[in-house]
Symmetry: C2
Subunit: 215 residues, 2 copies
DNA sequence: GTCTATAAACAGATAGAC
DNA sequence: GTCTATCTGTTTATAGAC
């Protein structure tokens, strides 16, 4: 009886660990070759298991893809939740840029997978985009517009400001090869990282902070 | 004799037209599914010809891909050449943004193909990036730095400014689905196009134009 | 849970008739 | 130049032994 319990707990733990192992391997392969370009064999190999064993854990290629994509999507959209109108605009937006740049540097695979899914028309997450993401963006553009009305931020299109932040962070992550080719550096280089982040803050945030006029 | 000449001219013309037709179809399919995800069958189908006929015009999948990619690469990097230090900074940079936004709107497939190639490590054009693109960027960062030294532009990292412009234009093109999902609009919508472009100019260019101080 | 073997479909590419 | 037929390898997915 004791043994059974212990064994079953162990198995559950192993199963969960193995699932995470598979998801990690799948992220690696899917983010490199895309959904169509990736093969289950390659994913199994990367995870260090057999192909048929992989099919034991996930019913099919699509199932596995959706599982990986869901994880990425959550991590990707979470940081925007932090923006609140009670905060100082420069601080809040600066913090958001910080977090997004961190993600761009530390999770290039997640970034690429997200981009690949978007570029193929987001067939698996279109409903989520039109649902919770749209709602989230509406809330946060309201926050930014609030700042503008209070004179704490210069007039700017809130929607396009958010898009610009997404564009830049996504680009530094997804176009590493191009950046590396023309500059020899990537976000992994500390001074390059600081320079990129500083330029983003200068252009996308500081330029929007009203200059206090003394009387 | 007359007939032969006419026939051969016709055939040449047809062959060229057909090659262009194939390249167009290939761009469509490659940009949607990526190199690995695309199939020669699908490309042939899109072009309205048989698979074996496609193999008559292009030796293999890679050959066709490189042909398409070369066309895109040329169109993609050409506009940057226009930047010259004799120009007015606001005008020159504004014009560059105009052209890049036009491309983003009118050539979403080329944009996507370029992005896909980058995201997969640019295996087919890495040498070009490290060669002529790097050289081009060095020339143009020099132009921007010249403007800054002359006090015609506020201090900013020239390299990262260029990267920011690339990031934004690429994003509006490649992430159309996301933009559409959250706003209901794309660059095809005139007012949305104007708003996006205006915001980019505000953040990436106008914020860098020195305010003339009267004495 | 994990393996070997294999089915079934599909992909890139070629041969050869017309 | 274009077609049909086909070869060859790869891919998703399953059956069944252990």
């Amino acid at each position: 009886m004791y043994d059974e319990t212990i064994t079953s707990v162990k198995k559950t733990r192993n199963a969960q660990q193995k699932q995470q192992l598979i998801l990690q391997a799948a992220l690696e392969v899917f983010s490199t070759y895309g959904l169509q370009g990736a093969s289950m064999e390659q994913i199994a190999e990367t995870a260090g298991i057999s192909k048929s064993n992989l099919f034991y854990y996930f019913a099919g290629k699509d199932d596995l893809y959706v599982a990986v994509l869901s994880q990425v999507l959550t991590a990707w959209l979470l940081p925007l939740n932090q923006l609140e109108k009670e905060q100082d605009p420069a601080q809040a937006l600066g913090n958001y840029l910080d977090v997004k740049f961190q993600l761009a540097k530390d999770s290039p695979q997640a970034s690429r997978l997200y981009a690949l899914e978007m570029m193929q028309g987001a067939p698996y997450i279109n409903t989520i985009l039109k649902g919770s993401l749209k709602k989230l963006v509406q809330q946060k553009t309201a926050v930014i517009n609030d700042w503008i009305e209070q004179g704490r931020l210069k007039p700017v299109s809130a929607l396009h400001l958010i898009i610009h932040i997404w564009a830049v962070t996504q680009h530094y992550s997804d176009f590493t090869v191009q950046t590396q080719a023309i500059s020899g550096k990537t976000l992994k280089n500390k001074s390059f990282y600081q320079e990129a982040l500083a330029t983003s803050k200068q252009l996308l945030i500081e330029s929007l902070i009203p200059t206090v006029v003394e009387h």
